[in-house]
């Protein structure tokens, strides 16, 4: 049993982030100067990263590259620390690291954001939100999970309000606030069902108490109802159907930095929460649940993409695009949920995580590019405003173009491998018969996904065309600061690098998920034939 000191040590990164954030928010009121607090925020992130590094990663044996199969299990139980309400397993550590990276990028990107007197609050809120993601990633208890998710939501309200103080911005803030509360309420309602049906707040106990297959109307009916409500509540965080309506209005009304945060942070938190709740334990789920995931995936993708086709406003366009990407991620989760007994399920979950990372980097870079190009008074709104950028700002335009290609999933960029992994897992799910859950519906899902990818290419490529093949009508004065530009370029290069060498990230995401079915037999990892540099692995069960 870990002592409370252990637990404190384990939570140091989060504590550091929160302390730093509070310090910055309070201090800025007395010393309103930009550069100092910006450096302070960076230092806080660096310290949190250092503290996280001290904990080390759970040791996951690397699969051998030879042709023969080797046993690769989850990490040793010793290296996974369960500290009170939190667990620091492979998934938690991976997401916490990712959060640190995101925090770093967001802080760099926000170097010129907002008014100077409110700059500290801006930075502090960003740090708090990332701390929230880290907490949500490691929570094993419904209370801590809710805390983490709210720590993502509440500073967001402040941030949105801190944006440009105009009518649109205020309207966006109010909308987000109200709908977010509605979603949180639905989620909490779901939590109460879970507690009511199992008598525990602890995730492992919850699943332990629902071992037998739960049907919506049978013995586990209450539990299943709770899961459904939680899913629907989290769909707000993901920006997926049916709680996606806020996204276009809010993205349109707020600054680029905030939009980037909105497009990334809640999605990361939401996906992690879904993975924890639905996949952490080896419960037998009723097909009802993955049917719902599948439906949500299809609906979300389609709504996001077809609505994006109509948009001339680039911010609304990107909002719909982020909705569509949430739909893609749900594909992997649907596969994972349906096939959790098999290796395909693991593949689906790790494909989702891979996609999450790739998407987050790309969308962050895109908004960073827009933030850079914006003037001090106005954000970029119309796609047309980007015309001729390829000539006047080739570096940023090149980065944006690359990111658009990645988002539409064109090889050899990271987005391609993301979509490939998701679709491949779904194709496999359609064909797997070992677990008996085989369903041709996954084929429908894949076809739908592929059609959607084709639709999506239309509007992404429209942006590329505007950037490079249209002559500019108006002169922009980029005042977003070099930080934003650097983030855009960095994200583009990262996207390219992951696209060319997807191996390391694929391995990392697979390792992150393999701790989720700890109570299983060790997995068989077979190195697949290496084709054109793509090192994928097929995981099979002995």
């Amino acid at each position: 049993m870990p002592t409370s000191l252990d637990m404190l040590f384990r939570m140091t990164p989060e504590i550091l982030l929160i302390v730093g954030a509070v310090w910055i928010i309070v201090g800025n009121a007395f010393a309103p100067q930009r550069a100092g607090w910006w450096v302070m925020a960076l230092a806080t992130v660096a310290m949190a990263g250092w503290a996280l590094a001290q904990q080390g990663m759970p040791v996951v044996p690397a699969p051998s590259t030879g042709g023969e199969s080797v046993h690769v299990g989850s990490a040793d139980a010793d290296s996974v620390v369960v500290a009170g309400l939190a667990i620091h397993d492979e998934l938690a550590q991976a997401i916490r690291w990712f959060a640190i990276v995101l925090a770093f990028l967001l802080v760099v990107m926000a170097s010129r954001a907002g008014a100077e007197s409110l700059f500290g609050e801006q930075l502090g809120s960003i740090l708090l939100i990332l701390a929230g993601i880290m907490i949500a990633a490691s929570a094993t208890n419904l209370v801590l999970l809710f805390l983490g998710l709210e720590l993502v939501s509440i500073p967001t309200y402040i941030l949105l309000f801190l944006g440009r103080a105009n009518r649109q911005s205020l309207e966006a803030t109010a909308k987000y606030f109200l709908l977010s509360i509605l979603a949180s309420a639905v989620m909490l309602y779901g939590f109460s069902f879970l507690y009511g049906s199992t008598g525990s707040m602890d995730l492992s106990r919850i699943s332990a108490n629902v071992r037998e297959p739960a049907s919506p109307l049978g013995a586990g009916g209450i539990w299943t109802m709770g899961m459904v409500l939680v899913l629907l509540g989290l769909s707000f965080k993901l920006g997926s159907f049916p709680a996606h309506f806020y996204a276009p209005d809010v993205y349109e009304g707020t600054t680029s930095v905030n939009a980037a945060l909105l497009a990334v942070a809640p999605k990361v938190a939401g996906i992690v929460a879904l993975v924890r709740l639905f996949l952490m334990n080896s419960m037998e789920v009723h097909p009802f649940l993955w049917h719902m995931f599948l439906l949500l995936a299809l609906a979300t993708m389609t709504i996001g993409n077809v609505c994006a086709l109509w948009q001339n406003n680039i911010r609304r366009l990107l909002a719909y695009s982020s909705i569509a990407h949430a739909g893609y991620m749900l594909i992997g989760l649907a596969v994972a949920l349906a096939m959790w007994k098999t290796s395909t399920g693991l593949q689906g979950a790790s494909a989702t995580l891979f996609y999450l990372v790739v998407y987050a980097i790309a969308v962050l870079g895109t908004f960073a590019g827009l933030a850079y190009l914006a003037s001090a008074r106005d954000e970029i709104q119309d796609v047309e405003q980007l015309a001729g950028m390829g000539r006047s700002y080739p570096v940023v335009a090149g980065a944006l173009g690359l990111l658009m290609f990645s988002l539409s999933g064109i090889p050899p960029l990271a987005g391609f491998w993301g979509k490939l992994g998701l679709f491949a897992s779904a194709v496999e799910a359609a064909g797997v018969s070992a677990a008996g859950v085989r369903s041709p519906w996954f084929l429908v899902l894949v076809v739908g996904g592929a059609l959607n990818a084709a639709i999506a290419a239309a509007y992404y490529l429209r942006i590329v065309r505007t950037l490079f093949f249209r002559s500019g009508t108006q002169q922009l004065a980029p005042e977003g600061g070099s930080g934003a530009r650097n983030v855009a370029v960095f994200a583009a290069l990262l996207t390219l690098a992951v696209g060319i060498l997807p191996g390391p990230l694929l391995v990392a995401t697979r390792n992150a998920t393999c701790g989720l079915n700890r109570d299983r037999a060790p997995l068989m990892v077979t190195a697949a034939p290496v084709s054109s540099g793509h090192q994928d692995s097929i995981v099979t069960r002995p």
């Binding site: 042709g67 919506p216 309506f245 097909p287 719902m292 439906l295 086709l309 639709i455 034939p529």
Partner: protein, 775 residues
């Protein structure tokens, strides 16, 4: 210093230098170097040439000193692994293919392609030849291309070509061979269409590319079959798999595949070689390729690239030894092409086209030699490749010099007697012609004699009459070669001096930078043969190539290079001299005899309206009127209807008389009858020996009717289908998402309460649908 540079370094430098030349020229050419764009190329090629010579000398030092036949020496430098797919192919024992069955216990084979360079005597020979000639041609081009707007582009392409060509002869893997095979093809395409604003040049480039595709398709199939059969595409043995032409196979541990599969592989390889080396029926692109700049014709379409097919067959000789029928086909295609191209070259008026057909013909000679599938044959073929490169490059560059002086006029009827105006070109061209005609003691004599001797030996060894026929065909070609070469020579440099008006004040000798390469090449054309063949040094050197050594080994004692046969030498010399003498008789005088001969051979006597005339001295316009210059032109004798005279002297033509209808009927019948009667005469215009030769045996026209026309029709049908059906479908489907989006976005009205309501409704909807689905 000389010793310090390793074979490996040299092998890498030889292709790397031209490549860097190409890149430098491409980067700095347009803006910085401009008129100096030739420097990276010329320097790179010269350095590459020096490296090749050093490599050859060093390699000579590494050969075994005892000089025993049947010993292959090679060295392979593997740079990196290009493709590696482990366990790509599990040959099933049921296929029972000997080549794979012998590999270790039917384990799945890795598909692995290394970027590996090899050095053996065959490669060294090719490298020296390619880099030497390309250096000279590059120097020549400095003068020839002077002032062209694509100056840097030309040199960049040229360097790129040399890179591809050196790689082609150095790589040690069939896939890499294929890659650079295509690489030289691309460079050839770019250079044929170099003056892309000229529609003829653009069309010629396309034609070359497309015709080569046909051959390459065969080559690709050969590679697939080879992979299925041998389980490897390497020449050499790698650590895991025995190569197709590897030492283990040569040592007899593993077998070569014969029979149907072996023959198929060889014939498909031959198809590839036919495309690249312009052999019948894929020879049609080479004459058109003369639309490119003349140095390109000299380098790519005479000396180097077109010999890639010969090189490839020589490299794969063991496969052909295992499939003798295929080798027989090679010999017949070679001999047939040689004869056919020689016949065509007799009547061409375009100096470069004469040389182009001569190239086709000489390549046919080389294939004939390879088709013997004996050591003597292959070494003779390669030797002819080597010497031919020099004298044919010389001839082309000489033709370029003539063109340069004549203001780009290349029709031999429009100039003549240039020997005083272009003395150096005249002298060097003469040497080239003598070499090509095979007159003792120039290079061509030795190599051609070696080929004839090889065929002669084979005819004696097998006693088969088919080889005797081949020998006869080769001898006949030798006569034709001497004749058409000197016909061109005399028409250009002798007779009364005639200079076309396009020449302007340019009608003088070319600048130094152009004639010095000519002189150097002339020296080589004169001396390479006697120096290398007097002691059979070339054949002895070449037989250390592993694939040829294996052949010598298999043949045992009789595998020695073809001995010098006095009877063959004397016969061939006599034939060549007869050809030269005939040309001199016909073209040095009044050319009245030429006209008479033409009159006979074009069946002029069948058409009374035509009188013998001085065809060749007539202007091309006059010739065009007589409809003999262009295959597309209509012959003069068409169904000439006597009543269809425009003079209108026939009364019943006027007025709508009662007899009008019967009269017209009568007229129609009369016309029909007349046409029928004159049909043979009309056809005779086409099939007369002269017309056959002049129209290149109508191969282009036959392709037009049989292949191009139907394909064009099919393309049109596909186009219409695509436009109407596919586009309609796609646009219809493409419109769906837009309409759906238009409908869905109506839900975005901006009211929070509406969003909340929609969210809740959506949630209920999802739950209900999932529920019903689940049940």
């Amino acid at each position: 210093m000389f010793e310090a540079i390793s074979l490996r370094t040299l092998l890498i430098l030889i292709p790397a230098l031209p490549l860097s030349g190409a890149i430098l020229t491409a980067i700095f050419g347009p803006a910085i170097l401009r008129r100096q764009s030739h420097w990276p190329t010329v320097l790179g090629l010269a350095a590459s040439c020096i490296c090749s010579l050093m490599l050859a000398v060093k390699w000579q030092g590494q050969l075994p000193q005892d000089g025993k036949a049947g010993q292959g020496v090679e060295e392979v430098v593997t740079l990196w692994e290009w493709v590696g797919i482990p366990q790509a192919y599990a040959p099933s024992p049921a296929t029972g293919l000997a080549a794979i069955a012998a590999t270790e216990n039917h384990a799945p084979l890795d598909f692995r392609i290394d970027v590996s360079l090899r050095i053996d005597t065959l490669t060294a020979t090719m490298l020296v030849m390619v880099t030497l000639i390309s250096t000279l041609v590059a120097v020549y081009s400095v003068g020839y291309m002077h002032g062209d707007e694509g100056y840097w582009r030309f040199f960049s392409y040229l360097s790129l070509f040399v890179f591809s060509m050196t790689m082609l002869v150095t790589v040690s893997n069939f896939v890499m061979l294929y890659v650079f095979w295509e690489g030289v093809g691309v460079c050839s395409y770019l250079l044929i269409g170099f003056w892309y604003r000229n529609p003829a040049a653009a069309a010629a480039g396309k034609k070359a590319f497309l015709v080569n595709r046909v051959g390459d398709f065969g080559f690709a199939l050969a590679l697939f079959l080879m992979w299925m059969t041998y389980g490897s595409l390497s020449f050499h043995d790698t650590d895991t798999v025995a190569g197709v032409l590897g030492a283990r196979r040569f040592a007899g541990e593993l077998s070569f595949v014969g029979g149907g599969v072996g023959t198929a592989i060889c014939l498909l390889l031959m198809a590839g070689a036919c495309g690249k080396s312009a052999q019948f029926p894929l020879h049609v692109w080479l004459p058109d390729a003369m639309e490119g700049p003349t140095p390109v014709s000299a380098l790519i379409h005479a000396a180097t690239m077109v010999t890639a097919g010969v090189y490839m067959i020589a490299r794969c000789m063991p496969l052909f030894v295992a499939a003798p029928q295929a080798a027989w086909v090679v010999a017949w295609i070679g001999a047939g092409t040689a004869l056919m191209a020689g016949l065509i070259a007799l009547t061409q008026f375009d100096l470069k086209r004469v040389l182009a057909y001569s190239t086709v013909s000489q390549l046919g000679y080389m294939f004939l030699a390879l088709g013997m599938a004996t050591l003597g044959g292959v070494t003779a073929g390669m030797f002819h490749l080597f010497t031919h490169a020099f004298f044919k490059a010389l001839l082309f560059l000489g033709a370029g010099s003539v063109m340069h002086a004549m203001g780009n006029v290349i029709d031999m009827r429009r100039f003549g007697g240039l020997r005083h105006r272009l003395p150096i070109t005249h002298a060097t061209f003469a040497i080239g012609c003598l070499a090509l005609a095979g007159i003792f003691p120039l290079s061509g004599f030795w190599s051609k004699d070696a080929i004839l001797a090889a065929v002669h030996d084979q005819a004696h060894a097998t006693g088969a009459s088919s080889y005797r026929v081949l020998y006869g065909m080769a001898m006949g070609t030798a006569f034709l070669t001497a004749f058409y070469t000197f016909r061109a020579f005399f028409m250009t440099f002798y007779g009364p001096q005639r200079i076309p008006e396009e020449a302007g004040h340019h009608a003088h000798e070319s600048p130094k930078v152009m004639w010095i390469p000519l002189v150097v090449l002339a020296l080589f054309a004169a001396l390479v043969g006697p120096m290398l063949e007097w002691t059979h040094a070339f054949a002895h050197w070449l037989q250390y190539t592993p694939s040829l050594a294996m052949m010598a080994q298999a043949a045992g004692a009789t595998g020695a290079p073809a001995a010098f046969h006095w009877d063959v030498a004397v016969t061939s010399t006599a034939v060549a001299v007869a050809g030269v003498a005939l040309a001199a008789f016909l073209y040095l005088g009044h050319r009245r005899e030429v006209a008479a001969l033409q009159y006979v051979f074009r069946f002029g006597w069948m058409n009374p309206s035509e009188a013998p005339s001085d065809w060749e001295s007539a202007s091309p316009h006059a010739a065009a009127v007589a409809n003999v210059t262009r295959p597309g032109g209509h012959p003069t004798v068409t169904g000439h209807c006597p009543s269809d005279h425009p003079s209108g002297s026939h009364g019943h033509e006027h007025g709508p008389g009662l007899l009008a209808l019967p009269a017209r009927l009568l007229k129609a019948v009369g016309c029909g009858l007349w046409s029928l009667l004159t049909l043979p005469l009309w056809l005779g215009q086409f099939v007369s020996p002269y017309q056959m030769s002049h129209s290149k045996f109508f191969v282009d026209e036959i392709y037009d009717v049989l292949i191009v026309g139907p394909l064009r029709g099919l393309a049109h049908i596909s186009y219409v289908l695509d436009r109407v059906l596919v586009d309609g479908l796609v646009n219809g489907v493409g419109g769906l998402p837009v309409r759906l989006g238009g409908w869905l976005r109506k839900s975005q009205r901006g009211f929070v309460s509406l969003y909340g309501l929609l969210t809740v409704v959506g949630m209920v909807l999802v739950v209900v649908v999932s529920f019903w689905w689940g049940v």
